[in-house]
Symmetry: C2
Subunit: 280 residues, 2 copies
């Protein structure tokens, strides 16, 4: 069922709660792909009811980012949600979500001054704000996030902890195309040539993973391997390549704990991210 | 019933919700007085169950404020709550409420750069943070605030609106001693001489109210009346005297809409606030 108004979804959720049903929530910006599908299916398997929001959230885009061009495909989103077993697709207008004189900020200070947070000022404030709102509207028991946005999961978990939000945050692994490219709504931006060039993200990470598996623990050496591979691709422009503690997101010079190896790379004008976790 | 742990209160509230009971919430910093009592009694009359929190919240005190000396009287608090019909008194330790590495901020940018917000930097961030937490822990249907902290009500209402918090915010009028002093936990700080001097707050506001009732609409003239009266009292030191729109909290030069007339005055070292609303 497609809903656009807060009062309508609140009314249905009130009834669900009265019946003691559990609610899973999958926040998305629409243009759903297999990665989202895996989240919805996990939510369906773990909850009585599942809500998927498909809201392109203006407050998490920077002034020079792709808010206006962000891909939309509501008909296919509905089809995917239905097939995956979601009960409600929530697709509010931005006027339903935001007042003109909105003045409340929700901000996580740690974890957000590195990686995408450093490169996209205000991005995680926008994420925290919209999720605070959706969490209060949908009041789910569990919420599901994709591990491609690994930093987002860390930030949301911190917010949930600090604000005593009574929601369990769960995640699903990155889903990839057959050729290894991480599924992303932004992949539709890529020309045929860029689509091919984009394979360099996963290829460079795979080389790093091999090196780690063979015992290399020096972050500089591993980063250089990634950077060198990325630099071989003329259409690729590195935004960042990092190796960080997977919990604190602090830089790791030596990989002596569970590490996140995240990269952000422009392929033409399209900014793509990818990562893997390495357990020592 | 006195509870100190989040998991214990969550467990009871879960049962209440299962039984379809409504919950009223009165947030306080303890040292309860008749003003709090009026809030608890209103909550009891409007809800099946009532939770009162008595938590001196460190994050809403400035570095040179009275956090360490803030009065506590948990035995009498329990007695007042019991007599007033509250179901739970929640008195968590600060370690139960805050992590050492807390990093989430909840901030209302409008409404907070005037009056007490201007004079107490960070105060309303602390209020918003702790209330976000208590709202998520207690999940009340209604929450009750005293009109002595009028700006707090405006800020909380804005936060609740902006974050889609599903709680109705209600308020009760200022409760006064027989001689007119607004009830406040901080009144216990006053020496006998200061207690007498403190009457100047209500006295100056009463003069202003008379003038408004007689038709005066020029804010400067009304403010001067308050300031002059306060200045007659040697123990009083003005922190602010303002006349603002009761909704936007913006300065009013002419009282042509519902006005808030708030004052903050040091009596010796004790900072007291008082106010009244004037409907034109």
């Amino acid at each position: 069922m497609l809903l656009k108004e807060i009062k309508d979804i609140r009314s249905i959720i009130k009834d669900w709660k009265k019946d003691g049903l559990t609610i899973g929530y999958v926040p998305t910006m629409g243009c759903l792909h297999e990665g989202h599908k895996s989240l919805i299916e996990k939510a369906v398997s773990e909850n009585d009811k599942v809500v998927v929001s498909v809201f392109v959230n203006p407050t998490q885009f920077g002034p020079n980012e792709d808010y206006d061009s962000y891909p939309k495909n509501i008909d296919e989103d509905l089809e995917i949600c239905k097939k995956s077993g979601a009960s409600i697709v929530f697709n509010p207008d931005k006027e339903e979500m935001y007042f003109n004189n909105k003045s409340t900020t929700v901000s996580v200070s740690e974890l957000t001054n590195v990686l995408c947070g450093a490169k996209r000022p205000g991005h995680f404030d926008g994420v925290c704000l919209v999720l605070s709102k959706f969490f209060n509207i949908i009041t789910p028991d569990k919420a599901y996030f994709g591990e491609k946005d690994f930093q987002q999961i860390a930030v949301v978990k911190r917010m949930v902890r600090d604000l005593n939000i009574n929601i369990e945050i769960l995640s699903c692994p990155i889903v990839r195309e057959k050729d290894g490219l991480a599924k992303s709504s932004r992949n539709v931006y890529l020309s045929k040539e860029e689509r091919k060039a984009a394979l360099v993200l996963n290829r460079s990470l795979s080389l790093a993973k091999e090196e780690l598996k063979h015992g290399e623990r020096n972050s500089k050496i591993i980063k250089d391997i990634i950077v060198n591979e990325l630099n071989k691709e003329p259409l690729a422009k590195i935004d960042y390549v990092e190796i960080v503690d997977s919990e604190s997101l602090n830089d790791l010079e030596i990989v002596n704990t569970t590490a996140l190896i995240p990269i952000a790379v422009y392929i033409g004008k399209t900014r793509l991210i990818d990562n893997f976790i390495f357990n020592i």
